[in-house]
Amino acid sequence: MTDVRLESGVSVRRTSFVTVRRESCVSVRRASRVVAVALLGVLVSGHVGSPDVFFTGKAGQYDIRVTIRPPEVVPGIARVTVRAPAGVQSVSIRPVFWRAGSKGSPSADETRRLEGQSAQGGGTFEGSLWLMARGAYSVDVIVSGTQGTANVLVPVASVATGRLAMSPALGVVLAILGFLLFAGLVNIVYKGAGESLLAASDTLDPVRRRRARRVGAIAVPILALILVGGARWWDSVDRDYEQTMYRPSPLRLELRGSTLHVQASDTVWQPGSRPSALVADHGKLMHLFLIRSDDARAFAHLHPLPADSSPIPAFQTTLPRLPAGQYHVFGDIVHETGFERTLVGSLAISEPSTPSTPSRPSTPRAESREPRADPDDAWFVGDASRERTMKLADGSVMQLEVASADAIEAKAEETLRITVRETNGKPARLEKYLGMYAHGVVARLDGSVYVHLHPMGTVTQAAQDAFRARDRGDTTAAGRLILAHEQHAAPAPAAMPSDSSAAPSSIEFPYSFPRSGSYRLFVQVKRNGRVLTGAFAITVAEAR
């Protein structure tokens, strides 16, 4: 771990596996005029190392799938792809900033329908829009077709996450032009002090020539100083930019006995000067995930409880008995602005005082009933399946299907389809766990990529609700979300009741792995009141 001082002056502890590479970023910047194009800094807000936003859901009567590839710099252009069913004739998009709401958004731009689509409408629509400010945005996707016009808001965090180094070719071109400009300016000064003052018939006498040369010579260091000043200015802009690049805020973690104390340790990324309160997502103010960093053989999905009533409270929970080791810790929170972010930390767990059961499958907290813990906490200890099927704790079988028949490639849009079957092979009836039929977590083994998936994609319901509430005007005079106050005043509610009326056995997660490497996919479902976790080892190949 390293200590890092952020722009607010708050000294925070940054875990080593979150490789922001500040020093290398600066050094590369200095050499940027001559090095290859490389994108630096891959960390994003709502998740870690997984910038793209995926949404599957309804816009009115239309089932659509939206992919947003946010810019790496702000202001910048977000690329939006919308897949729509037959009957959809046009799709328009516009950016909605949290503070201004839909009424403060520009008029929507129609997206371009890709060629070769069906005459009945539908297909893939592509467009782009500008994200001008940093903070919580949502993309308003307006769909028009045979069933009228409807819209849906897809939240996206607008933060600067990368910076482009300069290509050698551009560096050389600019260096040549810069040299020409410098030399030209010196010569202009020299000519201005001498030859330009001559009458038509005059020639430059030695005295005048010497004087002009003297003026030209004086101009050289002055212009050089201006040039150095410009370079220092550039350095300072780069430094400022680098400091304001988004990086996951650190979690302050402290384990006292079996009680884990959790604190978001800074307000650096808070919009404005005041802290923006948290809102509950699926009834919880924080979703905390622990993944053992050595081998990912242990996984826990916990919901620390707020220990105070401040806008961003301290949390605590009782840690389940997990095998000893170093753990990557990811805490998902949503602010009342609709800004989603993942806090990151690292936790060392020593040998438990009581023997753990390493092979014990996912266990709902209700079975162990420890103090200061949420009943919806669940964890899993065991090996991930290297096949596409895994036997769950209750004997049922979870099957993973991926749309692409061959190896999964980085940056390719995938549909991760999960099917649970009973021991007799019949489709199992799933129950809702935390308001969803399945929760997925994708993590790269080195901890550099982490994302919390739902069937609706990478977005959170809470962020969507926050934008809708603001558009309805559910805010106080000070601009605070009324919903947030209500949620915050009440203790975090338990899991939503199961809805067995349309219980599915298959769930789909839309996702695109950001880069190649070894990943784990943890999928949590609920059957017969028991949370079951499947774990899959996935190898992602380089994008072709």
Partner: protein, 393 residues
Amino acid sequence: MESVVPRRTTPKYATRALVEEAPSRSVPFSWHAPTVVFGAVCVMIGVYWDISWHMSIGRDSFWTPAHLLIQAGGLIAGLTSGYVALRTTFGSDPRARDAGVTFWGFRAPLGAWVCIWGCLAMVTSAPFDNWWHDAYGLDVRIISPPHSVLALGIGAIGVGALLLSLAWQNRGGEHQRRAMWLLLVAGAMLLMDRWIMLTEYSSKNLQHGGAFYRLSMLAYPMAVVMMAKASKMKWAATITTGIFTAFVLILMWLIQILPATPKLGPIYQPITHMVGMAFPVLIIVPALGVDLVMQRVQLRPVFLAPILSAVFLALFIAVQWPFASFLMTESARNWFFNAENFVYWMSPSGVEWSRSFQETDGLGPHLANAWGTGALSAYLGLWFGHWMSKVRR
């Protein structure tokens, strides 16, 4: 047999003498200076339009009319200057060669070289700025290194226009008056350039504060005094500032006619038409004072500059201070005075901020500083003006 050598009608050396005696025919490429001044005017209109575009619409590309006008103005000045340089270097017109300076083996008037330099700087700024947007985001800060290179290029086009007009004016001749007017137009464009550079520090609610007067005294006296010194017109400073004021006002009134809606968000102001820049500062009054002083007081620059600064500052405060008070009133909230030219992203708190004077520590503590800054600025104006009055090529 004795060969017959045709007798010269005039001695060889007489060519130059005749040229100087007949100045109406001694102006080679007489279209060049007006064309370059036209280019400079195009650039400044483009700059104004572009700023208004960013205030009203937001979203832009390389191909917006404002950008094209800026690039066109730069290209007009740069390419015509390049043409003049090639024709002068490789042509056989001795008048053209005599009106030029040698530059890396080529020959053209100094103003042409400055225009070519400015055009090159503008060209350089394009890929630099494009990379900058990709690296740090679109115009996170208006004053950035690539924008500074562009501003230098634009400034150079204005200086080039000034030098070409100057050389023509200083050489004299039948069309000297035309050159004098061109010079004043070019000077007005330079003044406008300075006014735009000070925009962020010149909000109406800052005009009772010391910083506004300090910065104004740094920027304006130099340009105004320089024009008064370099021009052969009697009321050069007043006319130059008059052209500047009229030009900016016409742009301000006209641009508000064009319909526009923001294409970027968040939007806090319901904009339906282009938003013009603020009402120009009233430097025409202190410029009149500068003209009067320079016509009546003959002193060395080091003594004259403090007097000019004092006169400039006193008259500037006398008119701008009450005018700023007026701009804060309801009576100024209309298209004519354009006091509430809010950009689309101006939040309600920003509106409140703009309606109350900032920097309320008073002007008193800043007066001496503003006067000293103005004296330095005026001295530089006298120095440059003196040099400019001697430029002949």
